[in-house]
Symmetry: C2
Subunit: 189 residues, 2 copies
DNA sequence: ACCTGAACACCGTTCAAGT
DNA sequence: ACCTGAACACCGTTCAAGT
């Protein structure tokens, strides 16, 4: 399932785990999130079984790599809940979300896909962030700034699915602007 | 490359080709466009080499299956070029496009991805349709009905990438509405 | 308790032998 | 000219043997 495993006790295990994460970061950045896991084992200098012991699925690697970023996004959402302009707070956060989720090619789709999937380890990682974004989104909806026929999670899924530049992995301009414009209610401004 | 191969001359070859297409249609509908090609060979009752002779890549199968649909879309775009309301013509066509591209799970992303890729056999198949949609789109842009910072091909790519219901393969509501609303210039209506 | 690498399963792709 | 299926390559996953 989607349990957060406790940190390893033995020092060689902790060292291997760290080496795998460093290798994964490099390999995913270079080859995208579909890269062969073999490349990661090789670069980390560990056997294949060791990778599987530490990270039973590819998604567990994503979770470990994305943890800090997602926590930052969660924090930013909470901060923006105190900002006066609901619509521009929402837009600012969505741009940040898009940026964070595209640091590794393919990561955006992985995060977006796991967001609402209870069998994915991505789901528990993102749950707090989702909750706080949902508040931010609901606040904008209540003020009439954005359409009400779409849920907060759907917005995140949609942004995560926007087509990417194959070279940089970033969302192609102006897809995010189109979506943001489509979310905002024109009769409100 | 992306050549349109001539139809086979020998009757057994033609029969095998037909059997492969019927099997592919069934398998892709049931298992999506990522289904093992092995399943298609098996269901068609032919050897693996035969599949590769007729359809050198998975995308060549898509092209054969999508040909009729894409030609219909092309025809519809030409018809709509004579309709008076540019914006509603555009919207009507985009809904038709979304519907056509989601008849097989995963097909939408395949078509959207191959649309602008000169190495894909999807590209030459869709070229006429793209041209006529581009006219439809340009007409709406000239009238000020839609934003001008996005190209016609980008619109098709964006619609093709919208998240799908895993069960039905169809675009989830209201993603297409959000995008359409985002394309339309609110100061125009 | 943890690591290693051989072994297995799966799938795509090629090609020598056959008709 | 076309078909077939064995053979190969690649990658993910498991597990028996080792420390």
């Amino acid at each position: 399932m989607a349990e957060a495993e406790p940190p390893p006790t033995r020092s060689d295990a902790r060292h291997n785990r760290e080496a795998l994460l460093i290798a994964a970061e490099d390999v995913f950045t270079r080859l995208g999130t579909d890269a062969p896991l073999q490349a990661i084992c090789q670069q980390a200098g560990v056997g294949r079984g060791t990778l599987y012991r530490h990270f039973p699925t590819r998604e567990h690697l994503f979770v470990a790599l994305m943890r800090e970023r997602v926590e930052e996004l969660d924090l930013r959402a909470r901060t923006l809940l105190d900002a006066p302009d609901t619509a521009s707070s929402l837009v600012e956060w969505l741009r940040l979300y898009d940026r964070s989720a595209t640091d590794y090619p393919g990561m955006s789709a992985q995060v977006g896909g796991g967001l609402a999937d209870s069998t994915s380890p991505v789901e528990p990682l993102c749950r707090p962030m989702k909750r706080n974004f949902a508040k931010l989104f609901a606040r904008a909806q209540e003020e009439g700034a954005v359409r009400t026929d779409i849920s907060a999670v759907q917005v995140l899924t949609l942004v995560g699915a926007l087509p990417k530049d194959p070279a940089t992995g970033r969302t192609v301009t102006p897809y995010l602007d189109v979506v943001i414009n489509g979310l905002l209610r024109s009769d409100h401004k």
